[in-house]
């Protein structure tokens, strides 16, 4: 057992109004540059819908993430070491800009320079790749709010296994938004796909980053990520991705997308997990068991033996304390209302979602006139189609965890309504969802009240180490060659394992340098 920390996020989909504020603020901070016009570290997709890039969830086509070989061993779906080294000259699985959308701007200049005329001047669209006029046929949000749904929505990979008629009715009646960022996976296939070793997980908080100085533009991370959350900067020739706003996280602040979320639906917190168990959890044969397997590597931060092990593994005391208050742990593990996006990709993603109850209820109200729309339990149990859709999205097709989560949310809704209306809530309600009233109170506080300090529990990085932390990802390439020397001894012994990439420990080789440094102000 080796305990490590991963920052995690839970998004409460019931609250997302699809305003795209998170996408825009993230873009303003991170990707408003040449070369990243088409890049959305955060994007908000309408579901059912195609996603961005189009149909990225269809891994038969894009071959992202992991799979099990015939002997049940984990391997990259897009092929192993040798295959990559042989296909490096042209990556067989890379999406092109047309799979995203050719980025454009408008020719605003003509609005000012056009000669006086009876007709108003028009700012035409121009491609940001070529500068030429562009006929607009797609964009990052082309199917926003089900626009064009009769044509496109049927191509949503999550509708697999549903007949055409059902699909169509469904897209008329059921809709929600899915904000997406990088999952900062426990078992990131992007990292595993990078032949240069430029991508890495930060040991202290699990944030997945690209070392811009080490990236050589082989672009396998882009195809390796099943969520397509690594993007290729076509100006610099290097890969870029969501940084989990690490400079803010280090300072104890929430990410930009969370901070600016109008619906206040994002929760940030720490998860303690057993790094030694990751590979096994990702290798579970039955995809329906992947959720439990991932929950199985999460450690209970309230457990004294876990705390003792965490201390031995060098996790600071205030981080252990923060992990106990983690809203992510509460929603995902304690109350089991949050679920991972596409666990079947086997990357053990760390951005989880509370499934949306409202579209399910609305769909019932619309379809079954005799149903009491307030009887949300009825809704949850009745709506086979939305449940299957959500299950394809959040539970590898297994309806049960989705139903269970929705029943808990339904219980919360019914219980709190009675309480608010001055009645005495029926204790049978939480019981029907397998909960006690105390749990409902906590859920209510987290999901409905959702105070700033309850949503974001992020301990700041330690000042005595923070400057070293910064050095890791500001392109400081200290001793990189020797890093590989250190890892080479693990030659194929393990496919997924914990690795000290850098042999030069602060307490050994670097100690003279450190002693010579002036004290940092704290």
């Amino acid at each position: 057992m080796r305990i490590m920390v991963n920052v995690g996020m839970v998004m409460n989909l019931d609250k997302c109004i699809g305003c795209h504020t998170c996408s825009v603020t993230c873009k303003q901070v991170w990707t408003n540059r040449r070369g990243t016009e088409y890049v959305w570290f955060n994007n908000v997709e309408t579901k059912p819908g195609l996603g961005y890039p189009k149909r990225y969830e269809d891994q038969d086509r894009w071959r992202g993430g992991w799979e099990l070989d015939r002997r049940g061993r984990l391997r990259l779906r897009s092929g192993g070491w040798l295959y990559k080294l042989l296909t490096i000259f042209a990556n067989p699985d890379l999406p092109t800009i047309d799979d995203y959308a050719e980025p454009w701007t408008y020719d605003y200049e003509t609005l000012f320079t056009a000669p006086v005329s009876a007709d108003d001047p028009v700012a035409r669209a121009r491609s940001q790749l070529t500068g030429r006029p562009l006929a607009l046929r797609g964009g990052a949000n082309w199917d926003d709010n089900l626009a064009g749904a009769p044509e496109h929505a049927g191509a949503d990979p999550n509708l697999r296994g549903m007949e055409a008629q059902v699909q169509f009715e469904f897209t008329q009646a059921f809709m929600f938004y899915l904000p997406r960022i990088c999952e900062h996976c426990l078992n990131p296939s992007c990292v595993a796909s990078c032949p240069s070793g430029a991508m890495y997980k930060r040991e202290e908080d699990g944030i997945v980053l690209v070392d811009q100085d080490k990236c050589r533009g082989w672009r396998f991370c882009v195809s390796g990520c099943p969520y397509k959350k690594v993007y290729f900067n076509h100006q610099t020739g290097k890969a870029e991705k969501c940084t989990f706003c690490y400079p803010r996280i280090e300072a104890g602040l929430p990410t930009i997308c969370s901070e600016t979320c109008v619906g206040r639906l994002r929760h940030l917190g720490l998860i303690l997990y057993d790094a030694d168990g990751v590979r096994e959890a990702a290798s579970v044969r039955d995809p329906h068991r992947l959720l439990d397997a991932q929950l199985g590597v999460f450690c209970d931060p309230a457990d004294p033996t876990v705390q003792a092990q965490a201390r031995r593994d060098g996790i600071p005391e205030d981080w252990i304390e923060a992990a106990q208050r983690s809203p992510v742990y509460a929603l995902a593990v304690r109350h089991r209302v949050a679920l991972p996006l596409h666990p079947e990709f086997r990357t053990l993603p760390m951005v989880w979602y509370v499934p949306p109850l409202s579209p399910v209820v609305n769909a019932v109200a619309r379809r079954a006139a005799d149903a009491d729309p307030d009887d949300v339990f009825y809704a949850v149990d009745q709506m086979r189609i939305p449940l299957q859709y959500l299950a394809n999205l959040l539970a590898a097709g297994d309806v049960e965890p989705v139903r269970a989560a929705l029943r808990r949310l339904a219980a919360l809704r019914a219980y709190m309504r009675e309480q608010q209306l001055g009645g005495t809530p029926d204790p049978a309600i939480p019981a029907r969802a397998g909960m006690d009233p105390g749990a409902l109170d906590e859920l209510y506080r987290l999901l409905a009240i959702a105070k700033y300090e309850d949503r974001y529990v992020i301990p700041s990085a330690h000042t005595e180490t923070a400057d070293r932390l910064a050095a890791v990802h500001t392109g400081c390439s200290v001793g990189w060659e020797s890093q590989f020397a250190a890892t080479a001894s693990h030659f194929r012994a393990n496919h997924v394992q914990f690795v000290h990439v850098q042999p030069r420990r602060p307490d050994h080789g670097a100690s003279e340098t450190m002693a010579a440094e002036p004290e940092q102000p704290s």
Partner: protein, 242 residues
Amino acid sequence: MTSATLLAWIVLPYLAIAVFAVGHAWRWRHDQFGWTSLSTQLQERRLLMWGSPLFHYGTLAAIAGHVIGILIPASWTAAIGVSEATYHVFSAVAGTVAIVAIGIGLVILVYRRVAVRRVAVTTSRVDVAVYVLLIVIIGLGAAETIAVNLIGPGYDYRATVAIWFRGLFAADPHPELMATAPWLYQAHAISAWFLIALWPFSRLVHAWSYPVLYLGRPWIVYRGYRSAVRPRPSLTPTAPRR
């Protein structure tokens, strides 16, 4: 020895080698961020899927061929029982296969660079210089391989060009040998030295980063302060808000 001989077969090679070495050292130290393949597959995929592998596999085969033909002395191959006639047939046939692959690949890549607008706009001046030199070098190489060695009478470059080339590295140059070589070979060599001098300043540096170490690496890479990295005093974190 005329001064032209001296210039072409001693001064130019040593100059190119010096620029190559110093240029790479400088670029490696100062431009890690610019060290990349500068892939344009995002912009155009269909042509690249054919052009790039053909060009690269052909080029790597041609480089291997140069190692066998130029770096390994004829006496060594003779010692393991390969006669000049056998060697000639092998090099002409294998060389032709490689040059055909390179040729087709290069035509596709150049066409793509010129005709596909999305790719064309990314082309830098250095790219243009690289492509011009590649076209010249590869064109001349194709003429040597096919016109001279496959169809034509053949030319035993291992008795002249190869000895001159190895001599450069043994500090025992024989420019007079090169002066007797056919003009095709002379022009091929001269243009190649220009490409070598340009190499460190172009996208061609990507070739040195062929990630062989991937073969010996565990899947997941971690980096962190607990196991790593010297401090950088200049970076001070912002104060937490809460």
